[in-house]
C-alpha cells in the first residue's frame, strides 16, 4: 500500500519533470552553454590575421586593464549610478503619491507609468535627440522664455546620457516604490504625528524605512539595465561617452576580436551578478520584481 502510493507520487513527479524539460533544455542550450563559451573564449588567443586558437592565456584580461578600458568601466559605473540616483529622487515622490495618496485614479496613473515600457525603446530614445538638438524644442522654449546668446549644446554630454537613462528607466523605479507605498499603513504615520513628530521626522523615521524594500528593488531594476546599456550612450552620448556596451558592439561586430570582447563581457557579467547577489543577500526578503 505504502509503496504503491510512493510509486504514484514519483510518477506524478516524473510528469512534472517531463513538462519542464523542454524549457530547461532550451535555456540550457541557448543561454547557459553560450555563456560558458564566452568564458572559454575569454582565455583564447587571436593572431594578427584574426585567427582564434584555444591556447590558454590571460592576456585578454590584461588588455582590459589598459587605461582606455578601465576608464570605460569606471565611466559606465558612474553613469549607471548617477542615473539610478536621479531615478530615485525623481521617482520616489511619484511612487509615494500614487501608492499612498491617490486612491481614485490609482490604476489609471500606474497604467500611464507602465505604458512607455511597452513602447519601442529605439523610438523613445530617438525622440529625445530632436528635443535636445541645437535648434530643438528645448532651446526654442529657452529662447521663448527670454534666454539670449549662443544656443547651448545639450546632446553628447554626460547629462544627455543620464537624461536618456532616466527617461527610459524611471518606470522601473516607480513601480516597486509604488508597491511598497501602497502597503503603508496610514495609522503608523498618524501615531507618529500625534506623538509629536514633525512631518520631516515622520518621513525619515517611519515612511522611508517602511518603503525601503521598494527603494532597493527599484534601484537594482534601474542600475542593472543601465550598466549594460548600449543604445542611450550610442545615440545621446557619442564616442566620448561610450560605455561597456558600446565597446562590446564595436569589438564584436566591427573588429571581430572575440577573445578580447569575451573578456570584457565576463567583467560586465561579474559586475552585474555581484550587485544582484549583494542585493538578494542583504536587501531582498524575497525576489520582488514589481512588474
Amino acid at each position: 500500500m505504502l509503496s504503491d502510493s510512493n510509486a504514484k507520487l514519483s510518477l506524478k513527479r516524473l510528469k512534472g519533470y517531463f513538462l519542464i524539460v523542454p524549457a530547461f533544455i532550451f535555456e540550457l542550450l541557448f543561454f547557459i552553454i553560450p555563456l560558458i563559451i564566452v568564458f572559454v573564449y575569454s582565455f583564447s588567443k587571436i593572431d594578427a590575421f584574426g585567427r582564434i586558437t584555444f591556447e590558454f592565456t590571460i592576456q585578454n584580461y590584461f588588455n582590459i586593464l589598459t587605461p582606455e578600458f578601465t576608464k570605460t568601466i569606471l565611466r559606465t559605473l558612474a553613469v549607471a549610478s548617477i542615473s539610478t540616483i536621479f531615478c530615485l529622487i525623481l521617482g520616489y515622490p511619484i511612487g509615494y503619491y500614487i501608492g499612498f495618496k491617490e486612491k481614485k485614479y490609482q490604476n489609471l496613473l500606474i497604467m500611464l507609468i507602465i505604458i512607455p515600457f511597452w513602447l519601442s525603446f529605439v523610438a523613445r530614445t530617438y525622440s529625445i535627440i530632436s528635443i535636445f538638438s541645437t535648434n530643438g524644442i528645448f532651446n526654442q522654449i529657452l529662447t521663448f522664455l527670454g534666454f539670449v546668446g549662443d544656443k547651448p549644446q545639450w546632446l553628447y554630454a554626460w547629462y544627455s546620457v543620464v537624461f536618456g537613462m532616466v527617461y527610459n528607466y524611471l518606470p522601473m523605479m516607480v513601480l516597486p516604490i509604488y508597491a511598497s507605498a501602497e502597503k503603508l499603513n496610514p495609522q503608523y504615520l498618524e501615531a507618529a504625528q500625534s506623538l509629536g513628530a514633525s512631518p520631516i521626522n515622520v518621513f525619515f523615521k517611519v515612511t522611508l524605512p517602511l518603503t525601503m524594500p521598494g527603494i532597493f528593488a527599484g534601484s537594482i531594476l534601474v542600475f542593472i539595465p543601465a550598466v549594460g546599456e548600449f543604445l542611450v550612450p550610442e545615440l545621446l552620448g557619442g564616442i566620448e561617452w561610450y560605455m561597456i556596451g558600446n565597446h562590446l558592439w564595436i569589438i564584436f561586430l566591427t573588429m571581430g576580436n572575440y577573445p578580447l570582447g569575451s573578456a570584457l563581457s565576463i567583467v560586465l557579467i561579474i559586475l552585474v551578478l555581484f550587485i544582484t547577489i549583494l542585493y538578494i543577500k542583504y536587501f531582498a526578503k524575497e525576489v520582488e520584481l514589481g512588474l
Binding site: L9, I20, E27, F30, P34, F121, G136
Partner: protein, 265 residues
Amino acid sequence: MKRIFDKFLKAYLVIIFIILYAPIAILVLFSFNEGITMGGRRIGSTVIWKGFSLEWYDKLFRTPEIWNALGNSTFIGIVTSFISAVLGTISAYALVRYDIKGKNLFYIMMLVPIIIPEITEALSLLLFYVLFNIKLGLNTIIIGHATFCIAYVFTVVRARLSDYDRSLEEAALSLGATPFQTFTKVTLPIIAPGILAGSLLAFTQSFDDLIKASFTTGSGIITLPMLIFSKIKSGVSPEINAIATITLIISGTLAFISYWISSRS
C-alpha cells in the same frame, strides 16, 4: 501646510507625465511635417514646423526595404511569442502543480536571462552559432528572442496559476475527467488570459529588440528596429519619425489589448 504639500506633489506628477509623454507626442507630430526640396531631394526638419503633410508616410509605403523589415519583425515576433507561450505555460504549470525538486534552480534559470545584460546574451549566442557553424538568419534571431521572452509568459502564467482556486480542477477529476481533459477544459480557459497577455508582451519585446537581432542576424536580413537604428545613424529625418510612429501604433495597440484582456478577467 499638508494641503500645500499635496498640491505640490500633484503638480510635480503632472510635470513628470508631461516630460514622459511630450517627446513621444512631438515625435509623432513631426512625422507629419512638410518637407522642402533641396538639390532635387526632399528633406524635412524634425524641429521646425513647416506644415501638415503625409509625404513621409507616402514615401514609406513605396519603400520595399521598410515592408521587408516590417515583415521580418512581425514574423520573428509571432514565432517567438508562440514558442514562449508553449514553453512558458507548460513549465509554469509544472512548477505550480507538481512537486519538483530543484524548483528554485529552475526559477533562477528562467529569471537570469532578464537580469544579464542583453548585449552579453547577444554576443554569447553569436559565439555559439559561430562555434557550431550554424547559419545565421531569421531562425537564429527567433531563438535569441525566445530565451528571454519565455520568462515573460512564465511569470504571468505562474502568477495566475497560483492565484486561482485549485478545487475546480479537483472537482473535474473526481467527476471522472481525465487529467488531459481537466487541463484543456478547466485549467486552460482560466489561465488563457494570462497566456495571451504574456504572449503579447513577448511579441512587443521581440518586435522592439535591436541588440540581439543585430548580433544574430544573417547577411541581408534586417528587422524594423535595425532599420530605424541605421537610419538614425545617418541623420534625423521626419521619415524616421514616420517609421517610429508606425512601431508606436503597433505596440501601443497590443498594450491596449493586453490591458483590456487582463481588466476583463
